[in-house]
């Protein structure tokens, strides 16, 4: 997991979710790229972060794109966040004895039958054990640091602008303590009607 480095976090806010990741791709201690994308849109309302071995990031992104496209074609509708989480879990468990070295993090928005907004986050380990947290989920080389800062800064029912500040400070300060994460960060704030993506200015060491 520390071959390439990288970390991801997702947080829940008031009728919104946020997902953030750093941009570093390294080869052990040597930095290769400061522009490595590890968070991908799955649907308009679901985003997935893939921290871990970079080759598996690309492979899993392509595999999930295929499986979600097949789901959309067969079902005639977009996949729901919770369903997608289970899809991730089963895909990873298929390789129980030869796993992908990735710990996916998912963030999305769904609507209840009455029309209420339901924010959703989830994470799995590399063999698909699901974690449906109510507050935040973290993964990657800086995960322990992300836990620490998030526990301190997070509070329930943050508005999108406040959630952005909270998740940004969490990411920036956690990766500054980790040698294998950093070199910039990207944050996506997902609300019911739009997604705002911002690139953070952070320490480039």
């Amino acid at each position: 997991m520390d071959q390439n480095g990288g970390s991801v976090i997702a947080m829940v806010g008031k009728d919104c979710v946020a997902i953030a990741a750093d941009l570093r791709l390294g080869n052990q201690a040597l930095g290769i790229s400061g522009n490595f994308q590890r968070v991908f849109p799955v649907t308009d309302r679901i985003f997935m972060g893939l921290p871990g071995l970079a080759t598996d990031v690309a492979t899993l992104h392509e595999r999930f794109r295929y499986r979600v496209n097949m789901y959309t074609i067969k079902e005639g509708r977009e996949i729901e966040p919770e369903t997608f989480a289970h899809l991730v879990s089963s895909t990873l468990y298929e390789h129980r004895f030869g796993p992908y070295f990735i710990e996916p993090v998912m963030a999305g928005i769904s609507k209840t039958p009455t029309g209420k907004i339901k924010p959703f986050i989830a994470a799995t380990d590399l063999i698909g054990c699901l974690n449906f947290a109510k507050d935040f989920v973290v993964a990657g080389t800086a995960s322990t640091k992300l836990y620490g800062v998030a526990e301190g800064l997070w509070e329930p029912d943050l508005e999108p602008e406040d959630l952005f500040e909270t998740i940004s400070q969490t990411m920036l300060n956690a990766v500054d303590r980790d040698a294998f994460s950093g070199w910039g960060a990207v944050v996506h704030i997902i609300t019911a009607d739009k997604v705002i993506t911002r690139t953070l200015k952070g320490r480039m060491d």
């Binding site: 071959q3 390439n4 791709l25 080869n27 040597l30 930095g31 290769i32 790229s33 522009n35 490595f36 071995l53 970079a54 080759t55 690309a58 492979t59 392509e62 030869g98």
Partner: protein, 194 residues
């Protein structure tokens, strides 16, 4: 140990690779070409396990050419890079993986811009403005951080490349003697003297 560098500039990608083929303490050959032209606007420098390198490079070359024969037009650099990456990603979990690291540089004739990809034997891919493989990368990358300009002319790019080569020659214990340098731009692939 095999060293290769590459950088992008205004409408071109410059790739350089050393020309030494060695086994243990013996230099078997001093004029080995480690940069293959995969298509009219695509170059690939390879390094790694001897044997695996040429086998994989030729396999890639043939399949890229097959696509061009079947479809009358060439694969774009990003598509070729994805194909190569997928081949390596499948290889790494097979019984005998290819141990080959690559620098793939191409000029996209549809969008008129150069692209450079750093690919390693695991199937890791990164699109980058400049890149290097081998022990030489530890010296070259910092120089490229400092002196690379994304819109440099070919002459300026060659100057930057020469800095990298000079630094590796000065500081690497087993430094390569000569390098082969190739450039790909809108007019295609050609070798240049430096």
């Amino acid at each position: 140990m095999e060293t290769s560098f590459a950088l992008t500039g205004k409408g071109y990608v410059l790739i350089a690779a050393d020309t030494t083929a060695a086994r243990s303490i013996v230099k078997m050959k001093v004029d080995e070409d480690k940069i293959k032209a995969l298509g009219p606007h695509l170059l690939m420098a390879y390094s790694g396990e001897p044997g695996d390198t040429v086998q994989f490079a030729e396999y890639v070359e043939r399949n890229i050419r097959l696509y061009q024969i079947r479809n009358t037009y060439s694969l774009r650099p990003s598509a070729a890079a994805s194909w190569v990456r997928r081949s390596l990603a499948e290889s790494i979990r097979s019984r005998h993986p290819y141990s080959v690291n690559l620098l793939l540089g191409g000029y996209d004739v549809a969008s008129h811009d150069p692209h450079l990809y750093w690919i390693d034997y695991l199937g890791t891919i990164a699109e980058v403005p400049f890149a290097a493989h081998g022990y030489g990368s530890y010296f070259a990358l910092s120089l490229l951080d400092r002196y690379h300009k994304p819109d440099a002319s070919l002459e300026e790019g060659v100057e930057t490349l020469k800095r990298c080569i000079a630094e590796v020659a000065k500081r690497l214990v087993v430094s390569p003697g000569t390098y082969k340098v190739k450039v790909v731009d809108k007019d295609g692939v050609r070798e240049i003297e430096i």
